[in-house]
Symmetry: C2
Subunit: 180 residues, 2 copies
Protein backbone atom coordinates (compact mmCIF):
# COMPACT_ATOMS: atom_id res chain seq x y z
CA UNK A 1 0.00 0.00 0.00
CA UNK A 2 1.82 3.07 -1.17
CA UNK A 3 1.33 5.69 1.47
CA UNK A 4 1.39 8.88 -0.51
CA UNK A 5 1.28 9.20 -4.30
CA UNK A 6 -2.03 10.96 -4.00
CA UNK A 7 0.59 13.58 -4.12
CA UNK A 8 0.59 16.85 -5.88
CA UNK A 9 2.13 19.71 -4.01
CA UNK A 10 -0.47 22.38 -3.82
CA UNK A 11 1.16 25.50 -2.56
CA UNK A 12 -1.26 28.34 -2.11
CA UNK A 13 -0.38 31.99 -2.07
CA UNK A 14 1.00 31.32 1.35
CA UNK A 15 0.97 27.93 2.91
CA UNK A 16 1.71 24.44 1.83
CA UNK A 17 -0.68 21.55 1.77
CA UNK A 18 0.09 18.84 4.27
CA UNK A 19 -0.98 15.26 3.81
CA UNK A 20 -1.83 12.74 6.44
CA UNK A 21 1.65 11.24 6.60
CA UNK A 22 3.15 14.68 7.15
CA UNK A 23 0.72 15.29 9.96
CA UNK A 24 1.49 11.95 11.60
CA UNK A 25 5.16 12.74 11.32
CA UNK A 26 4.79 16.12 12.98
CA UNK A 27 2.59 14.75 15.73
CA UNK A 28 4.99 11.91 16.41
CA UNK A 29 7.86 14.33 16.50
CA UNK A 30 5.98 16.61 18.87
CA UNK A 31 5.31 13.78 21.27
CA UNK A 32 8.76 12.21 21.22
CA UNK A 33 11.23 14.71 19.84
CA UNK A 34 14.30 12.70 20.67
CA UNK A 35 13.59 9.77 18.37
CA UNK A 36 15.64 9.56 15.20
CA UNK A 37 14.70 9.15 11.59
CA UNK A 38 15.10 5.39 11.71
CA UNK A 39 12.80 4.97 14.66
CA UNK A 40 10.25 7.28 13.06
CA UNK A 41 10.23 5.23 9.90
CA UNK A 42 9.53 2.15 11.99
CA UNK A 43 6.67 3.80 13.88
CA UNK A 44 5.09 5.25 10.77
CA UNK A 45 5.54 2.11 8.72
CA UNK A 46 7.38 3.74 5.84
CA UNK A 47 10.92 3.62 4.52
CA UNK A 48 13.61 5.62 6.20
CA UNK A 49 14.32 7.57 3.04
CA UNK A 50 10.70 8.64 2.92
CA UNK A 51 10.81 10.08 6.41
CA UNK A 52 14.05 11.82 5.61
CA UNK A 53 12.63 13.32 2.43
CA UNK A 54 9.43 14.43 4.14
CA UNK A 55 11.33 16.04 6.96
CA UNK A 56 13.62 17.85 4.56
CA UNK A 57 10.66 19.12 2.60
CA UNK A 58 8.75 20.25 5.65
CA UNK A 59 11.76 22.16 6.85
CA UNK A 60 12.66 23.76 3.54
CA UNK A 61 9.05 24.77 3.06
CA UNK A 62 9.10 26.43 6.43
CA UNK A 63 6.35 24.34 7.96
CA UNK A 64 8.84 23.14 10.53
CA UNK A 65 10.91 26.11 11.55
CA UNK A 66 13.26 24.21 13.77
CA UNK A 67 13.73 22.06 16.81
CA UNK A 68 14.90 24.60 19.30
CA UNK A 69 14.66 23.81 23.00
CA UNK A 70 11.40 24.88 24.60
CA UNK A 71 12.47 26.78 27.66
CA UNK A 72 10.05 27.29 30.53
CA UNK A 73 10.38 30.82 31.90
CA UNK A 74 8.83 29.71 35.18
CA UNK A 75 11.58 27.17 35.71
CA UNK A 76 14.08 29.92 35.06
CA UNK A 77 12.63 31.94 37.88
CA UNK A 78 10.06 33.98 35.96
CA UNK A 79 6.73 32.47 36.99
CA UNK A 80 4.61 35.55 36.29
CA UNK A 81 3.30 36.13 32.78
CA UNK A 82 1.38 39.17 31.60
CA UNK A 83 0.10 40.71 28.42
CA UNK A 84 0.39 44.43 27.93
CA UNK A 85 -1.46 46.49 25.37
CA UNK A 86 0.51 49.56 24.43
CA UNK A 87 -0.72 52.72 22.81
CA UNK A 88 2.00 54.23 20.68
CA UNK A 89 2.49 57.83 19.69
CA UNK A 90 2.13 58.32 15.97
CA UNK A 91 5.34 57.62 14.08
CA UNK A 92 7.17 56.24 17.10
CA UNK A 93 6.53 52.61 16.20
CA UNK A 94 10.04 51.78 15.07
CA UNK A 95 11.61 53.37 18.15
CA UNK A 96 9.30 51.55 20.50
CA UNK A 97 10.03 48.28 18.76
CA UNK A 98 13.75 48.81 19.10
CA UNK A 99 13.36 49.75 22.74
CA UNK A 100 11.28 46.74 23.66
CA UNK A 101 13.62 44.41 21.79
CA UNK A 102 16.29 45.29 24.35
CA UNK A 103 14.17 44.18 27.31
CA UNK A 104 14.74 40.47 27.97
CA UNK A 105 11.44 40.13 29.80
CA UNK A 106 9.58 41.01 26.62
CA UNK A 107 9.09 37.58 25.10
CA UNK A 108 7.13 38.68 22.07
CA UNK A 109 5.73 41.82 20.57
CA UNK A 110 3.13 42.34 17.89
CA UNK A 111 1.74 45.37 16.21
CA UNK A 112 -2.00 45.05 15.90
CA UNK A 113 -4.90 46.74 14.24
CA UNK A 114 -6.16 49.80 15.98
CA UNK A 115 -4.66 53.19 16.51
CA UNK A 116 -0.96 52.53 16.88
CA UNK A 117 -1.41 49.62 19.25
CA UNK A 118 0.98 46.92 20.22
CA UNK A 119 0.55 43.80 22.27
CA UNK A 120 3.41 42.25 24.14
CA UNK A 121 3.97 39.26 26.36
CA UNK A 122 5.96 39.86 29.51
CA UNK A 123 7.40 37.69 32.23
CA UNK A 124 8.61 38.65 35.68
CA UNK A 125 10.07 37.12 38.82
CA UNK A 126 7.04 38.03 40.91
CA UNK A 127 4.07 40.31 40.92
CA UNK A 128 6.22 42.93 42.54
CA UNK A 129 8.91 42.42 39.95
CA UNK A 130 6.30 42.86 37.25
CA UNK A 131 6.07 46.48 38.25
CA UNK A 132 9.76 46.90 37.49
CA UNK A 133 9.31 45.26 34.10
CA UNK A 134 6.33 47.40 33.24
CA UNK A 135 8.22 50.51 34.24
CA UNK A 136 11.02 49.37 31.97
CA UNK A 137 8.62 48.85 29.12
CA UNK A 138 6.58 51.99 29.57
CA UNK A 139 9.47 54.22 30.49
CA UNK A 140 9.89 55.34 26.93
CA UNK A 141 8.57 58.48 25.45
CA UNK A 142 6.89 56.87 22.45
CA UNK A 143 4.47 54.95 24.62
CA UNK A 144 1.36 56.87 25.56
CA UNK A 145 -0.48 54.37 27.67
CA UNK A 146 -0.26 50.73 28.70
CA UNK A 147 -2.82 48.38 30.13
CA UNK A 148 -1.71 45.09 31.57
CA UNK A 149 -3.45 41.80 32.17
CA UNK A 150 -1.75 39.29 34.42
CA UNK A 151 -2.08 35.66 33.43
CA UNK A 152 -3.58 33.51 36.15
CA UNK A 153 -3.84 30.20 34.41
CA UNK A 154 -2.76 28.70 31.10
CA UNK A 155 -6.09 27.18 30.19
CA UNK A 156 -4.69 26.03 26.85
CA UNK A 157 -0.90 26.09 26.65
CA UNK A 158 0.54 26.98 23.28
CA UNK A 159 -0.24 24.09 20.99
CA UNK A 160 -0.10 23.25 17.32
CA UNK A 161 -1.09 19.62 16.94
CA UNK A 162 -4.85 20.17 16.49
CA UNK A 163 -4.15 22.70 13.77
CA UNK A 164 -1.74 20.34 12.02
CA UNK A 165 -4.34 17.61 12.03
CA UNK A 166 -6.98 19.92 10.67
CA UNK A 167 -4.66 21.14 7.95
CA UNK A 168 -4.04 17.54 6.93
CA UNK A 169 -7.74 16.78 6.79
CA UNK A 170 -8.50 19.92 4.84
CA UNK A 171 -6.06 18.71 2.26
CA UNK A 172 -7.93 15.48 1.71
CA UNK A 173 -11.31 17.14 1.19
CA UNK A 174 -10.38 20.55 -0.18
CA UNK A 175 -12.80 23.15 1.07
CA UNK A 176 -12.36 25.59 -1.73
CA UNK A 177 -10.50 24.62 -4.89
CA UNK A 178 -7.06 26.07 -5.51
CA UNK A 179 -6.52 27.97 -8.69
CA UNK A 180 -5.27 25.47 -11.36
Amino acid sequence: MTAGVLYRMTIGERGMAIDHLDARLIVLLAREPRIGVLEMSRRLGVARGTVQARLDRLQSNGVIRGFGPQVDPAALGYPVTAFATLQIRQGQGADVRAHLATVPEVLELHTTTGSGDMLCRLVARSNADLQRVIDLVVGFEGIVRASTAIVMEDAVPLRIIPLVEQAAQDRERPGRPEKP
Copy 2:
Protein backbone atom coordinates in the same frame (compact mmCIF):
# COMPACT_ATOMS: atom_id res chain seq x y z
CA MET B 1 40.48 26.06 33.61
CA THR B 2 37.56 24.22 35.14
CA ALA B 3 34.44 25.70 33.63
CA GLY B 4 31.97 25.33 36.42
CA VAL B 5 32.68 24.28 40.00
CA LEU B 6 31.49 27.65 41.22
CA TYR B 7 28.57 25.37 41.55
CA ARG B 8 25.91 25.20 44.14
CA MET B 9 22.43 24.54 42.91
CA THR B 10 20.22 27.25 44.28
CA ILE B 11 16.62 26.33 43.68
CA GLY B 12 14.21 29.01 44.74
CA GLU B 13 10.56 28.51 45.56
CA ARG B 14 10.01 28.20 41.86
CA GLY B 15 12.81 28.40 39.42
CA MET B 16 16.27 27.01 39.19
CA ALA B 17 19.43 28.99 39.00
CA ILE B 18 21.23 28.73 35.70
CA ASP B 19 24.94 29.26 35.35
CA HIS B 20 26.81 30.61 32.42
CA LEU B 21 27.59 27.22 30.92
CA ASP B 22 23.93 26.27 31.06
CA ALA B 23 23.04 29.46 29.27
CA ARG B 24 25.65 28.90 26.59
CA LEU B 25 24.34 25.41 26.14
CA ILE B 26 20.76 26.58 25.69
CA VAL B 27 21.74 29.36 23.34
CA LEU B 28 23.84 27.00 21.25
CA LEU B 29 21.02 24.53 21.15
CA ALA B 30 18.58 27.23 20.14
CA ARG B 31 20.76 28.34 17.28
CA GLU B 32 21.66 24.91 15.94
CA PRO B 33 19.23 22.38 17.30
CA ARG B 34 20.42 19.54 15.12
CA ILE B 35 23.90 19.26 16.58
CA GLY B 36 24.55 16.37 18.92
CA VAL B 37 26.06 16.13 22.34
CA LEU B 38 29.51 15.45 21.01
CA GLU B 39 29.54 18.48 18.77
CA MET B 40 28.19 20.63 21.59
CA SER B 41 30.98 19.53 23.88
CA ARG B 42 33.48 20.53 21.20
CA ARG B 43 31.92 23.96 20.71
CA LEU B 44 31.62 24.65 24.41
CA GLY B 45 35.05 23.34 25.21
CA VAL B 46 33.95 20.89 27.88
CA ALA B 47 33.82 17.13 28.15
CA ARG B 48 31.00 15.23 26.55
CA GLY B 49 29.86 13.82 29.85
CA THR B 50 29.47 17.33 31.20
CA VAL B 51 27.20 18.38 28.39
CA GLN B 52 25.18 15.22 28.82
CA ALA B 53 24.83 15.75 32.57
CA ARG B 54 23.87 19.40 32.13
CA LEU B 55 21.27 18.57 29.55
CA ASP B 56 19.77 15.86 31.71
CA ARG B 57 19.58 18.22 34.65
CA LEU B 58 18.04 21.04 32.66
CA GLN B 59 15.40 18.70 31.36
CA SER B 60 14.57 17.02 34.63
CA ASN B 61 14.37 20.43 36.31
CA GLY B 62 11.89 21.52 33.69
CA VAL B 63 13.96 24.39 32.36
CA ILE B 64 14.01 22.67 28.99
CA ARG B 65 10.55 21.30 28.43
CA GLY B 66 11.37 19.53 25.21
CA PHE B 67 12.56 19.77 21.66
CA GLY B 68 9.30 19.63 19.80
CA PRO B 69 9.17 20.86 16.22
CA GLN B 70 8.32 24.53 15.89
CA VAL B 71 5.54 24.59 13.35
CA ASP B 72 4.75 27.80 11.48
CA PRO B 73 0.98 28.25 11.16
CA ALA B 74 1.50 30.59 8.22
CA ALA B 75 3.28 27.86 6.27
CA LEU B 76 0.39 25.56 7.05
CA GLY B 77 -2.00 27.96 5.38
CA TYR B 78 -2.98 30.05 8.41
CA PRO B 79 -1.21 33.36 7.86
CA VAL B 80 -3.57 35.49 9.94
CA THR B 81 -3.01 35.76 13.68
CA ALA B 82 -5.25 37.57 16.12
CA PHE B 83 -5.67 38.03 19.82
CA ALA B 84 -9.14 37.98 21.31
CA THR B 85 -10.12 39.22 24.73
CA LEU B 86 -13.16 37.37 26.01
CA GLN B 87 -15.52 38.41 28.75
CA ILE B 88 -16.92 35.37 30.47
CA ARG B 89 -20.19 34.98 32.29
CA GLN B 90 -19.64 34.28 35.98
CA GLY B 91 -19.09 30.61 36.69
CA GLN B 92 -18.87 29.60 33.05
CA GLY B 93 -15.09 29.58 32.98
CA ALA B 94 -14.63 25.83 32.89
CA ASP B 95 -17.18 25.38 30.13
CA VAL B 96 -15.64 28.07 28.00
CA ARG B 97 -12.22 26.54 28.46
CA ALA B 98 -13.47 23.15 27.37
CA HIS B 99 -15.21 24.68 24.40
CA LEU B 100 -12.20 26.61 23.19
CA ALA B 101 -9.94 23.61 23.63
CA THR B 102 -11.89 21.90 20.86
CA VAL B 103 -11.21 24.65 18.34
CA PRO B 104 -7.95 23.93 16.49
CA GLU B 105 -7.52 27.57 15.53
CA VAL B 106 -7.20 28.50 19.20
CA LEU B 107 -3.48 28.18 19.72
CA GLU B 108 -3.41 29.26 23.33
CA LEU B 109 -5.76 30.49 25.98
CA HIS B 110 -5.11 32.22 29.27
CA THR B 111 -7.32 33.37 32.04
CA THR B 112 -6.26 36.80 33.17
CA THR B 113 -6.92 39.24 35.94
CA GLY B 114 -10.07 41.23 35.58
CA SER B 115 -13.70 40.28 35.76
CA GLY B 116 -13.83 36.84 34.18
CA ASP B 117 -11.56 37.68 31.31
CA MET B 118 -9.66 35.44 29.00
CA LEU B 119 -7.13 36.12 26.31
CA CYS B 120 -6.65 33.77 23.40
CA ARG B 121 -4.46 33.58 20.32
CA LEU B 122 -6.20 32.66 17.10
CA VAL B 123 -5.08 31.88 13.59
CA ALA B 124 -7.09 31.83 10.39
CA ARG B 125 -6.68 31.19 6.68
CA SER B 126 -7.53 34.77 5.78
CA ASN B 127 -9.15 37.84 7.21
CA ALA B 128 -12.45 36.55 5.91
CA ASP B 129 -11.81 33.18 7.49
CA LEU B 130 -11.06 34.91 10.76
CA GLN B 131 -14.72 35.80 10.93
CA ARG B 132 -15.59 32.11 10.85
CA VAL B 133 -13.10 31.38 13.62
CA ILE B 134 -14.38 34.20 15.78
CA ASP B 135 -17.93 33.00 15.29
CA LEU B 136 -16.78 29.55 16.34
CA VAL B 137 -15.14 30.96 19.44
CA VAL B 138 -17.86 33.36 20.44
CA GLY B 139 -20.74 31.09 19.51
CA PHE B 140 -20.97 29.78 23.02
CA GLU B 141 -23.35 30.92 25.65
CA GLY B 142 -20.76 31.50 28.36
CA ILE B 143 -19.05 34.24 26.40
CA VAL B 144 -20.53 37.67 26.88
CA ARG B 145 -18.33 39.77 24.69
CA ALA B 146 -15.20 39.47 22.59
CA SER B 147 -12.86 42.09 21.23
CA THR B 148 -10.30 41.11 18.65
CA ALA B 149 -7.02 42.61 17.59
CA ILE B 150 -5.50 41.38 14.34
CA VAL B 151 -1.74 41.04 14.30
CA MET B 152 -0.11 43.03 11.54
CA GLU B 153 3.52 42.42 12.25
CA ASP B 154 5.59 40.28 14.57
CA ALA B 155 7.85 43.02 15.80
CA VAL B 156 9.54 40.61 18.20
CA PRO B 157 8.86 36.95 17.44
CA LEU B 158 8.60 34.68 20.46
CA ARG B 159 12.06 34.47 21.93
CA ILE B 160 13.76 33.18 25.02
CA ILE B 161 17.48 33.67 24.55
CA PRO B 162 17.74 37.15 26.10
CA LEU B 163 15.91 35.94 29.17
CA VAL B 164 18.15 32.91 29.49
CA GLU B 165 21.21 35.11 29.33
CA GLN B 166 19.82 37.45 31.94
CA ALA B 167 18.94 34.56 34.22
CA ALA B 168 22.51 33.33 33.95
CA GLN B 169 23.91 36.74 34.80
CA ASP B 170 21.54 37.19 37.72
CA ARG B 171 22.94 33.98 39.12
CA GLU B 172 26.46 35.32 39.17
CA ARG B 173 25.55 38.52 41.03
CA PRO B 174 22.51 37.49 43.04
CA GLY B 175 20.04 40.34 43.29
CA ARG B 176 18.37 39.25 46.50
CA PRO B 177 19.89 36.55 48.67
CA GLU B 178 18.23 33.14 48.83
CA LYS B 179 17.22 31.85 52.20
CA PRO B 180 20.13 29.77 53.62
